[in-house]
C-alpha cells in the first residue's frame, strides 16, 4: 500500500517527510555540527576539508559550497538545518529565504513589506502564480534570464 502524500503538487515547495529526511540525513547532521562555535571556525577555515569529514554525496557538498539552498533542499536538506550554514555566514533568515526565489535582497524585503507573496495562483502546480516553475527565477535573476534569451534570439 502506498503512502498518502497530498503535498506533492504544491508549487515551489518541498515537504520534509521521512523520505526526504533519510535522503538528507548526513547533510542535515553536518548542518547541526555548526551549532558549535569551534566547528563554525573549522568550517570557515577550510569548507571542503570540513565537508569531506561527512559521508555526504558530492552533489550535497557542492550544494553547500555554492550556498544553493534550493539544491540542498532537493537533496534532502531541511531549512531549519540549512539555516545553521546561513548563521555561520552571518545571514539572516530573510536573506536565506529570499536567496531561493532569485530576487535580490531588496526585492524580497520589499515584497514582504508589501504584504508578502500572494497565495493566488500559487496553491497548485499548473496555475500561473509567481512561485510556479515556469516563472523561475523571479526578480532580478529572472529579468537577466529573459534578457539573455532575447539577445540570443536577436
Amino acid at each position: 500500500m502506498s503512502l498518502e502524500k497530498p503535498y506533492l503538487d504544491v508549487p515551489g515547495t518541498t515537504i520534509f517527510d521521512a523520505e526526504q529526511s533519510h535522503r538528507g540525513y548526513h547533510l542535515n547532521q553536518f548542518c547541526m555540527s555548526l551549532m558549535k562555535a569551534a566547528n563554525r571556525e573549522r568550517f570557515k577555515s577550510n569548507e571542503r576539508a570540513y565537508l569531506d569529514e561527512w559521508p555526504m554525496t558530492e552533489a550535497q557538498k557542492q550544494g553547500v559550497l555554492a550556498r544553493d539552498l534550493n539544491r540542498c533542499i532537493s537533496l534532502g536538506g531541511n531549512i531549519y538545518f540549512l539555516a545553521k550554514i546561513g548563521a555561520t555566514d552571518g545571514k539572516s533568515f530573510q536573506q536565506m529565504a529570499g536567496s531561493m526565489t532569485g530576487m535580490t535582497e531588496d526585492e524580497y524585503r520589499n515584497m514582504m513589506i508589501g504584504g508578502g507573496r500572494s497565495v493566488e495562483g500559487n496553491r497548485v502546480l499548473g496555475e500561473d502564480g509567481d512561485a510556479q516553475p515556469q516563472h523561475q527565477p523571479q526578480g532580478a535573476a529572472g529579468r537577466a534570464k529573459k534578457n539573455a534569451q532575447l539577445n540570443k534570439a536577436v
Binding site: T13, D17, S21, Y25, S92, I113, G115, G116, R117, Q136
Partner: protein, 280 residues
C-alpha cells in the same frame, strides 16, 4: 487544585528576538509589531501566573535528526537558551517546574498520549521569543516555565485534531494537581509563512484571520482542517499553527473572553498573530 486561567497565542519569529537583543525594537520596521504587545506586557504584570505551560517547536536545535519526538515535555529544573548558530540569546535561564511537569507527564500518558520525557535540553527562539514578547527584557522570567516541544519539522506532524485532544488531556492533568497553582498555557508559532523554495515569502492575511476567528469561536471545527490546507494556504511553515490548538484544547468548554487580538505583516518572512484568551 491547579487551574488554567488563560491562554496566550503568538508567533515566535527569530528576527523578533534579534531585534530586541540588538536594541532595534524602536525602529520604524519593528515599532508597529512591538506596539501590538504593549497591552500584553501590562496584562502579564497584572495577571502573573505561577507557571507557564509553553507549547512551541524546536527548530533543529535540541533535537537533530538523531531523535524526533512528536511531543516532548521538559521536566528539568532549568533550561539554557540555545546557541542556534549566532551565539545564545542574552536572555535569562528558563526555570522549569519539575513537580508539575512530571505530574502532567504521568497523567497525559495515562490518557493515551505518548509523551517523551526530557530531563536535559536547551531551548531555542521558539520558546524564548514568546517570553520576550510577553515579558520584555527582565533579569529573570516572571515564573517557572514548562517547555512542551512539538515536532512540526519532519512530516507527518501531529494533526490538528490530535493536538486539540492533547490540549484537553493537559487540562485534565493540570486540574488534577493538588497545589492551587495559577497556570497559563501558551501556543506559539505561525502564522502564515514559508521559508523555503521559490514560494518563500507566502503570506495569507485572509486565511490567518479566519484561523483566529475560528480558534476563538469554533476550535472543534478548526481542529478538522487537514495539514494540506495549512501548507497550501498558509505556507509550508504555517503548519506550526497546529500547536495553537493544543493551548486552545486546554481551555474550558465555555466561550473564552478575548482580552487582546493583534495581527501584523511582516516580521521578517512571517505574519505575526497574537491572542490572549481568558477562561470563563
Amino acid at each position: 487544585m491547579a487551574k488554567i486561567t488563560a491562554s496566550v497565542y503568538t508567533s515566535h519569529v527569530p528576527a523578533i528576538g534579534a531585534a530586541l537583543d540588538h536594541g532595534k525594537s524602536g525602529e520604524p520596521y519593528w515599532q508597529p509589531m512591538f506596539q501590538g504587545y504593549e497591552f500584553s506586557k501590562q496584562w502579564m504584570k497584572d495577571n502573573k501566573p505561577d507557571v507557564i505551560f509553553l507549547v512551541y517547536n524546536d527548530h533543529a536545535t535540541a533535537f537533530s535528526l538523531e531523535m524526533i519526538p512528536t511531543f516532548a515535555i521538559g521536566c528539568a529544573e532549568q533550561f539554557q537558551p540555545a546557541d542556534e548558530g549566532y551565539g545564545p540569546r542574552p536572555v535569562p535561564v528558563v526555570k522549569g517546574h519539575p513537580e508539575l511537569a512530571s505530574h502532567i507527564a504521568q497523567s497525559v500518558i495515562q490518557q493515551d498520549f505518548d509523551l517523551t520525557i526530557v530531563n536535559k535540553m536547551d531551548v531555542d527562539h521558539g520558546l524564548t521569543v514568546p517570553l520576550s514578547l510577553m515579558c520584555g527584557q527582565p533579569a529573570e522570567w516572571p515564573c517557572p516555565v514548562i517547555p512542551f516541544a512539538v515536532n512540526v519539522v519532519q512530516y507527518p506532524v501531529p494533526s490538528g485534531r490530535r493536538c486539540y485532544n492533547l490540549g484537553k488531556a493537559i487540562r485534565n492533568a493540570i486540574e488534577s494537581y493538588d497545589e492551587p497553582l495559577n497556570v497559563q498555557i501558551w501556543g506559539t508559532g505561525g502564522m502564515s509563512h514559508q521559508l523555503q523554495g521559490p514560494r518563500a515569502g507566502l503570506i495569507n492575511r485572509e486565511w490567518d484571520n479566519v484561523f483566529l476567528d475560528r480558534l476563538i469561536a469554533d476550535p472543534d471545527g478548526l481542529a478538522s482542517v487537514p495539514h494540506i490546507d495549512y501548507v497550501r494556504e498558509a505556507g509550508s511553515e504555517g503548519i506550526e499553527l497546529v500547536m495553537w490548538l493544543i493551548a486552545r484544547g486546554a481551555m474550558s468548554d465555555q466561550t473564552p473572553t478575548v482580552k487582546h487580538r493583534f495581527y501584523h505583516v511582516p516580521a521578517s518572512n512571517t505574519a505575526v498573530g497574537h491572542l490572549i484568551l481568558e477562561n470563563n
